[in-house]
């Protein structure tokens, strides 16, 4: 997948996890937690959905890599690219 495709895949997941939020205005260099009001349970949902939809494992020490859209893409591109 290209970075653009990975970004779209993450947006799909975020739309399900934060259904009341507008994901079209996400700024890629700003914390997802702050932009979407996510908590730790939501990040576990992101990890679960990456596993279910894309067969990608995110070990717990790597969770901080999911902090922003930019860091997600940086981290996931080698795994999903």
């Amino acid at each position: 997948m290209t970075k653009e495709e990975i970004r779209a895949a993450i947006i799909d997941i975020l739309n399900d996890i934060a259904p009341d939020e507008d994901t079209s205005t996400i700024q890629d260099d700003v914390s997802l937690r702050d932009q979407l009001g996510l908590d730790s349970m939501d990040f576990l949902d992101i990890v679960m959905e990456l596993r279910k939809r894309h067969n990608v494992e995110v070990p717990s020490p790597d969770y901080p890599q999911l902090a922003t859209m930019d860091s997600c893409l940086e981290y996931l591109h080698p795994k999903m690219g």
Partner: protein
């Protein structure tokens, strides 16, 4: 404040299969409108069920619904509606003095079955089991979701009492008020049971799942051709408070909880025992300080199983044998069996009778089973009676749990 405090009902919030608030529900009970429909359930296909139509997004966000349970959602809807109905402003209350006490028949089956199904789609790899499972399935979940949603910081818990749980929730609320633990109790019962196949499959295996070509006629307590239970979801939450307090703030008072009782059959897993039901009703009458002939309406528990209806009828006929002006009805014929919510919903359907003196009927009785021939059973058409001062709400559940609540007109 003490153990003799008079406790009154000052708000009602409900989600019934045939109504999203008390006036809609009551209107449908008086005009014979059923809330039972066909419902698709996993593995079993089409079954009959009582399905609620309230808008869960009225009081919750989509994310709340995704994270929580249907029972939690029903409980939040009913609690918010009850508070609005009681004319209380939640933001102005000391929320550490509000308690939430909700009866449940079961909780966690829906969420567990969903997860078992989910991992079955992934080779039963438990890595796909959700981290939401535990907070969704802890037994206090429905009451806990109310405290989260309404920012209530007083005590909360659920009360597992099978199909008597709705009355048990009310009783617990009364007790906590009398103990001085809270100033307001959100008390009643909740059910999400239709969202798992297991309850339908188990009743079917027991030969106790209702089937009828017309779903609205499937729930037919007392009819010769009854063939079992229609499972329903729903909820009913009351605002309970001390009489003096309610009076001082000029609250609308639906009625006073004049008496209650609970006991146990200690005889069988599923079959109710008339002797113990008799004892339970008599204990509640004693505590209310009234004779059976002072009760104007008895709402029965009958679920439309062959034996259960007969057993309760025996008990009711014994307790009210010298009560010629006591009338009887049954609400499950309209809404099916709302499990943990049943008793609370069934009481609510009768409370307006304090004002209009109308006994809603028991519908779907084409041929009354002579073994259920209770004198003054109000069949198929609502009936106006001379006075309504006391309503007795009878309930019973598996493992032999009985709970009775008597409400008095204020």
């Amino acid at each position: 404040m003490g153990l003799q405090d008079r406790i009154v009902i000052t708000g009602v919030g409900l989600a019934a299969p045939n109504g999203n608030n008390l006036s809609e529900y009551r209107q449908n009970l008086l005009s014979g409108v059923s809330g039972v429909q066909d419902f698709e359930t996993r593995y079993m296909g089409k079954v009959h069920a009582g399905v609620c139509g309230f808008d869960p997004l009225r009081y919750q966000k989509k994310k709340d619904l995704r994270r929580g349970t249907r029972a939690g959602s029903v409980a939040i809807y009913c609690s918010r509606e009850a508070i609005a109905d009681s004319n209380l402003e939640l933001e102005e209350l000391d929320r550490s003095r509000v308690g939430v006490f909700l009866g449940i028949t079961e909780h966690g089956n829906v969420e567990t079955e969903n997860e078992v199904y989910n991992i079955s789609q992934h080779g039963h790899d438990t890595a796909f089991w959700t981290h939401h499972h535990n907070p969704r399935t802890v037994a206090n979940n429905p009451a806990g979701e109310v405290t989260l949603g309404l920012r209530i910081t007083g005590p909360h818990y659920t009360l597992g009492a099978a199909c008597a749980a709705g009355n048990t929730g009310i009783i617990s609320g009364v007790q906590m008020l009398r103990l001085g633990e809270v100033d307001y109790a959100l008390a009643g019962g909740i059910s999400e049971s239709i969202h798992t196949f297991g309850i339908f499959a188990s009743f079917k295996a027991q030969g106790a799942l209702a089937v009828h070509e017309d779903p609205t006629q499937a729930s037919r307590p007392y009819d010769v051709d009854r063939n079992g239970i229609v499972v329903s979801e729903g909820g009913c939450v009351y605002v309970l408070e001390r009489f003096e307090h309610a009076q001082a703030r000029g609250a609308k008072i639906y009625g006073e909880v004049a008496g209650y009782a609970m006991n146990s059959d200690a005889s069988d897993f599923v079959l109710p025992l008339p002797e113990r039901q008799i004892e339970c009703m008599r204990l509640a009458l004693d505590r209310a300080g009234i004779e059976p002939n002072q009760v104007d309406i008895v709402n029965t528990h009958a679920t439309a199983t062959k034996l259960g209806d007969i057993q309760e009828s025996l008990a009711v006929k014994e307790v009210f044998r010298d009560a010629p002006t006591t009338y009887f009805n049954n609400t499950k014929s309209f809404i099916g069996h709302a499990m943990g919510a049943a008793a609370a919903l069934e009481l609510a359907g009768n409370l307006p009778a304090f004002n209009d003196r109308i006994v809603h009927p028991t519908i779907n009785v084409n041929n009354l089973d002579p073994e259920c021939g209770i004198t003054n059973l109000v069949l198929n058409e609502a009936r106006e009676i001379d006075r309504v001062d006391y309503i007795l709400n009878n309930s019973a559940g598996m493992l032999g749990v009985n709970a009775v609540v008597i409400v008095k007109r204020v």
